[in-house]
């Protein structure tokens, strides 16, 4: 008979607090908020011990609780970004392109002159990208985070954030255009 996984809340802080904190921080980049979430996760878990299924590990169960809390925050952030200006007709990328669909001269991609294999350059690029992420409107940052960090399916993200597929792709594209432009500007400046 399979041994029933025991649950031991007294050991949670020592065993899982750092892991859960890192998990939250990776998605929310706000240390104080993430500390609160770790605490909330443990408290919710203690009050819902009856929902724990011994088929999953404590760690998986706690992570799932934390993930739900992060998704709630994502939803709230998403609802704070007004959609209408983002999605006004065809014009949502007019900052980058001319009327006829050509790149505007000053926004056309330029060669970065970096070596993809160079780990130092990659680290530097990543740091710039991270700062660029912080400048995105909350909804875009949330969509990018769900898609790339959590590797969620697009239709799942649409459902969670109440987005239509076409709005979703506009957001992805706008976010990518903005990140690329921001990265280039700061990289070539350096």
């Amino acid at each position: 008979m399979a041994k029933k996984e025991s649950i031991n809340p007294g050991q949670w802080v020592a065993a899982y607090a750092d892991y859960l904190y890192a998990f939250a921080l990776k998605r929310l980049q706000d240390p104080e908020l993430c500390k609160d979430l770790v605490q909330d996760t443990f408290v919710s878990a203690i009050h819902n011990l009856q929902n724990y299924k011994s088929s999953s590990s404590e760690k998986t169960w706690l992570t799932a609780i934390l993930k739900n809390k992060i998704t709630d925050i994502f939803r709230r952030k998403a609802s704070e970004t007004p959609l209408h200006w983002l999605l006004s007709g065809e014009d949502n990328t007019h900052a980058f392109f001319e009327e006829n669909g050509h790149w505007k001269d000053k926004h056309a991609p330029r060669i970065w002159e970096t070596e993809e294999a160079d780990p130092l350059e990659n680290e530097e690029l990543k740091e710039i990208l991270e700062r660029c992420m912080e400048k995105l409107p909350p909804l875009w940052a949330v969509v990018v985070s769900m898609k790339y960090l959590d590797e969620e399916k697009s239709d799942h993200i649409c459902k969670e954030l109440s987005l239509s597929p076409s709005n979703y792709w506009v957001i992805i594209h706008r976010a990518k255009l903005s990140l690329r432009a921001c990265l280039e500007k700061n990289w070539l400046k350096g």
């Binding site: 050509h102 991609p109 255009l177």
Partner: protein, 93 residues
């Protein structure tokens, strides 16, 4: 053959298709349209490679300035442990 005229000269549409293709794929017709555009547009070819590189970076993305190893300090953990002990008592677990 009017359908391709549109995209051949349209970087706005091409870049949208590039981002969609790299993430989730596009229809066969869209692939042909995009290939035609890229054949004649070096700027969008550059966008294509940079877009892919950004995707790669985002997938391996980790905040570098806040390292998890200098994350939770012991004082916070101690407080957390005490709060949890209280909650356990409260819940009768």
């Amino acid at each position: 053959m009017k359908w391709h005229n549109n995209i051949i000269y349209n970087c706005k549409k091409a870049t949208f298709l590039i981002d969609k293709k790299n993430l989730e794929g596009i229809s066969p017709l869209q692939r042909i349209e995009l290939r035609l555009h890229l054949a004649g547009c070096s700027v969008c070819r550059l966008y294509y490679s940079q877009s892919r590189r950004i995707d790669q970076m985002l997938r391996g993305f980790y905040p570098t300035r806040i390292k998890p190893e200098n994350g939770l300090d012991e004082a916070f953990k101690k407080g957390l442990q005490e709060n949890i002990a209280k909650e356990i008592k409260k819940s009768g677990a």
